[in-house]
């Protein structure tokens, strides 16, 4: 049995097991949840360390027939890309189980759903079969809705549940249509992603078919990742969700869409992607710039973090849109980094909410003195959120910028402004209002005793997420050396990249526009001074082994 099967099955079996435990055995239920997420984390960490970078390809795989007539298999395995994502998923799942101490009611049902969700998430990222991949995602999605509805918080809870359910179901449905169309048109009668990618690389679908299928995947997956303007479910939903659900969904499950774009859409539909990719660039700037501005105006800390999380997704989209090894690798790094960061941020705001019973920033203030630990980690998380080097987010974003620069220079200008300035403005505002300044005890709640995560096990989930964020930020090659060869293999061997000469003429004083037609025009122009000797080299490296 592959260790991956263990990773997936453990939480799922634990969910079944918990169902048979009487609800008064609260400690046993919690302990089961912690253990059945802790063990997968250790296993996936071992996989991450043992992954043979030199060899590459799919490792620790396991294959078994499921529905042979349709070519559906139980096929799990990791390559350089999803070994990182599985690690992310298990870390966040364990952290989410850790912060679930806040749940006081109907614990049994809560933990069953949480474990189902965790198992589904791990399954989605470990699967190499398209059907299984989609199946696990749905398996994780359904508990999400129920948990927001039952254990959610705030006045908007019902509306948020309704909205997130509608949006995500719609997105998943649209993506499903695209996937079925892809399966049908390939005519290969297999859902094996590796096989599909290999076959479709040799015998690509016709351009018109690709152009028809790609938008289904792009918008379907896009909605799941809160692509602008289909993002409004995200801040609201995360604001209303219980802490662990925000962490798991914003941190990991959301990345399903991006992963699908990288794993399925780009390699199997390269020409479709090429004709739609400027839309992706334009919409991703909507994420980065527009949602950044929206974040500046939020009064609720969770809505601010939610909007910034949506904004960060723009960098991943932008990296994917760059269509080159550097940018797409950057996008994967952004996925991992943002996953850790989103989980950390929502975990911390969840803690703050438990203490203060509110996240309205006007009513908070000067909390750093009373909560030095939570405050310090929060400030670090916010710094990571505005792209400070030393945290993994910077590495990912920087790679995206370098990757996209040669293709869409004006979009890069706008994205850099979003990352460096807009991000700093709203993040520092939050730090200033919530943590700095004179302490202002909350009005009607009276003087709140600020409890600063007194025990090490309360601190553990935050420290865990933070230390991985710093580890990958300090030594990014831990990630990139694994991701890069796989991305190079997935990306189609392209014709000479159309290279714009606009960069040369771009003026620094020109203000970035969220959606400027310039990048589209730029594609047509070609200029040889941008050709880099390295470019040709890694293009030859992309050949299949």
């Amino acid at each position: 049995m592959s260790p991956l099967t263990l990773i997936i099955l453990l939480p799922l079996l634990a969910a079944v097991g918990v169902a048979f435990v009487p609800r008064s055995f609260r400690l046993l239920i919690r302990f089961t949840a912690l253990l059945s997420t802790f063990v997968p984390m250790i296993v996936s960490l071992a996989l991450f360390v043992m992954f043979d970078t030199a060899q590459g390809g799919v490792q620790f795989g396991q294959k078994a027939d499921w529905v042979p007539s349709l070519g559906i298999q139980f096929y799990v395995g990791v390559d350089g890309i999803n070994v990182c994502l599985v690690l992310l998923a298990t870390i966040v799942a364990f952290a989410a189980a850790c912060v679930s101490w806040e749940i006081q009611q109907r614990e049994k049902e809560y933990y069953i759903l949480l474990l189902l969700m965790a198992g589904g998430i791990m399954g989605a990222f470990a699967s190499l079969d398209l059907f299984l991949f989609y199946f696990f995602h749905e398996l994780a999605l359904v508990p999400t809705f129920i948990m927001i509805g039952v254990w959610g918080r705030g006045a908007d809870k019902n509306y948020a549940t309704f909205k997130i359910t509608l949006y995500l179901s719609l997105g998943a449905l649209i993506a499903l249509i695209g996937l079925i169309a892809l399966y049908q048109n390939s005519g290969l009668r297999t859902f094996d992603m590796i096989e599909l990618a290999r076959q479709l690389k040799e015998r690509p679908l016709s351009t018109s078919t690709q152009q028809f299928i790609f938008p289904w995947l792009m918008f379907g997956f896009g909605i799941l990742v809160s692509l602008w303007p289909f993002h409004t479910w995200a801040p609201l939903g995360y604001g209303a969700a219980p802490t662990a659900v925000s962490m798991l969904h914003a941190g990991v499950l959301k990345k399903f869409g991006l992963y699908g774009l990288i794993r399925v859409a780009l390699p199997m539909l390269p020409e479709g992607a090429a004709s739609w990719v400027h839309w992706l660039v334009a919409l991703s700037l909507g994420n980065i710039i527009y949602c950044g501005f929206v974040a500046m105006r939020q009064k609720d800390l969770n809505l601010l973090i939610g909007n910034s999380s949506v904004a960060h997704m723009g960098f991943a989209f932008l990296g994917i849109a760059s269509f080159n090894v550097l940018g797409v690798t950057g996008a994967v790094v952004v996925m991992v980094a943002h996953g850790l960061l989103a989980a950390l941020s929502f975990g911390l705001t969840g803690y703050l909410y438990q203490t203060a019973k509110t996240l309205e920033m006007d009513r908070l203030g000067g909390l750093l003195r009373g909560m030095p630990f939570v405050g310090t980690v929060s400030i670090m998380a916010m710094m990571a959120g505005c792209g400070l080097p030393g945290f993994a987010n910077f590495v990912g974003e920087a790679m995206v910028f370098f990757g996209i620069w040669k293709v869409y220079p004006m979009a890069t200008v706008a994205a850099c402004w979003g990352a460096l300035v807009i991000g700093a403005v709203y993040m520092l505002r939050a730090v200033r209002v919530v943590w700095h300044g004179a302490s202002a005890p909350i009005g009607d709640a009276g003087t709140v005793a600020w409890v600063d995560a007194p025990h090490w096990w309360r601190r553990l989930p935050y420290l865990l997420l933070l230390s991985f964020l710093i580890l990958f930020g300090a030594i990014p090659r831990l990630l990139t050396d694994k991701i890069q060869p796989e991305v190079a293999r997935l990306l189609p061997v392209q014709k000479q990249l159309p290279v714009p000469s606009l960069a040369v003429k771009s003026s620094p004083s020109e203000s970035p526009k969220p959606f400027s037609p310039a990048p589209l025009a730029a594609v047509a122009v070609s200029d040889s001074i941008f050709q880099h000797p390295g470019e040709a080299r890694h293009r030859t490296e992309r050949n299949d082994p």
Partner: protein, 624 residues
Amino acid sequence: MMLQHIAWIVLFAPLAAAALIALATRRDDRLSAQISIAASAVAFAGSLILFLAFDRFELAWSWLNVGPLKVDLGFKFDALSGLMLLVVTGVGTAIHVYSFGYMQGDRSFARFFASMSLFMFSMLGIVVSNNLAQMFVFWELVGVSSYLLIGFWYERPAAADASKKAFIANRVGDFGFLLGILMVWGLLGTVRFDELEARLRTDPGAMGAAATVAGLLLFCGAVGKSAQFPLHVWLPDAMEGPTPVSALIHAATMVAAGVFMLCRVFFLLNVPDSSALPVIAWIGGGTGLLAALIAVQQDDIKRILAYSTLSQLGMMVMAVGLGGPGPAMYHLVTHAFFKALLFLGAGSVIHAMHHEQDIWKMGRLSQRLPVTCKTFLIGALALCGVPPFSGFYSKDAILAQGFEHNTWLFLLAVFTAWLTTFYMSRLVIVAFFGGPKSSGAEEAHESPGIMTSPLIFLAVPSVVAGIAGIPGRLSTQFGAAAEGAHGPAGFAALFEPFSHSPLPAFLGLLVFMLGVAAACSFYWGAKEDPLPSKLGWFARAMKDRFYFDEIYSALVRLTQETIATAAAWFDRWILSGLMVRGAHGTTELVGRALRLAQTGNLQTYALLLAFGVAWMLFYALVAR
């Protein structure tokens, strides 16, 4: 060979100290401070060994290697970085020791030293960078350590606001810097300094018409970090931080990083196609003049020094723009010593006056604080450019550079030098001489030895750095580009400026005397500032910093705040409201409409069924 690896100790000792304090010893104030001071001293000793043992070497460890992007964590040691290492670690160590006295009794003593060590690490990282991307990484880290230290007393709203302002202003500059890096990388295909230099040496026109834009974008980084016009507004506010921080970060080292960076990438600016240098020179000169004018009418001792720092940085940037990275670096080094000295002296005064910073509440401190006063005078004389103090020689190098290349800028620099002498004399006369102007000034006591000994330690290089042969060492770096850098060291250097280019040297001396004379006539024995009544609105404008802060906040309100409000409104009412709820409403309406079909009446169902069958039959049989 092994000796080179001291380099890593130099770089990582402060980081290790910061991590150790943060993780382990933060509850033990004394021990934390000792760790931090020891790390700084180790870095200084290591730098000294490297400086004596090597001329140049380079170590590199591959940090990121993806496709066409290769970024090292490098340690580039040459004349430029060697000198800068000594300045940063030397001045840094003195200030660490001083802080041990100055910060005594602060409730976050350990946090202060952890932040200082983090700053040292980041700053050293910039200095030893062997590529642009690494420089950017540490550039940002320096920005955040500055943020942490300005906002050290984060409970004070002014400090919290100042730290935020500093970080965002720096981020605006970094935005340009990052684009500049992207552009250079896009044009030349690498971020490593040696490869870039080699590429430009073989083909000076490799960047083509984009050279100017790329150069100016890189310069944006320096505009932010070195607080040049138009991003100069953050530096005076940064004085909200503890005084040792002002001395180390906002006078001696971090703000000079911009100038250092310009010197490092000088070969990118100085290409035939580029016309970036004149722009740089004028922005530098303009900032120098502007800041000197503002300094004349400030009353807060730290703010006067802050504007003086701005002004001197402007002079350095101007020197780079005039094609003289040598003089710029020279002035950077001497300025680091005497400005750190001045700030620490100011800190000693503030300490003695129980946190009173208004010079009009001081007076006759020369008798109460003898050591502070003497060392402060040394610093002031060096800043005003009096031989044989170090500032004279470096400032003269800049004036000579201006004299050779641009007469207007030369005159501007001379006028700035006059203003410099004027406001420094004003400060010294008002604060240290005349009658005591408050009871605090009468009762002030000299600071303890742990604070005065760093003053003496810094006073020595402030005096002798001018004859230590720095230009000679730098000339190996910039070669022919370092025109105006004079070679000799020791006694021969003492009178060298007068023979090398006599006019700037004598003019510099003349404006010093005029400045002192003017300040004496206005301020000797004065109880309040006579200038506002003489200059009227202009003095008012100088005092109010020419209203830049007001203009900027109006601009931000007008643009950013408006856009943000509009976006939030759109998000809430259009995207979330109209579209989502609209879709919801439509769905519900359709649902209601369909419910009409669900009558529960069997005949209706049968009828509908019949219609359906009929339609399908029609479709299957006829329509095909």
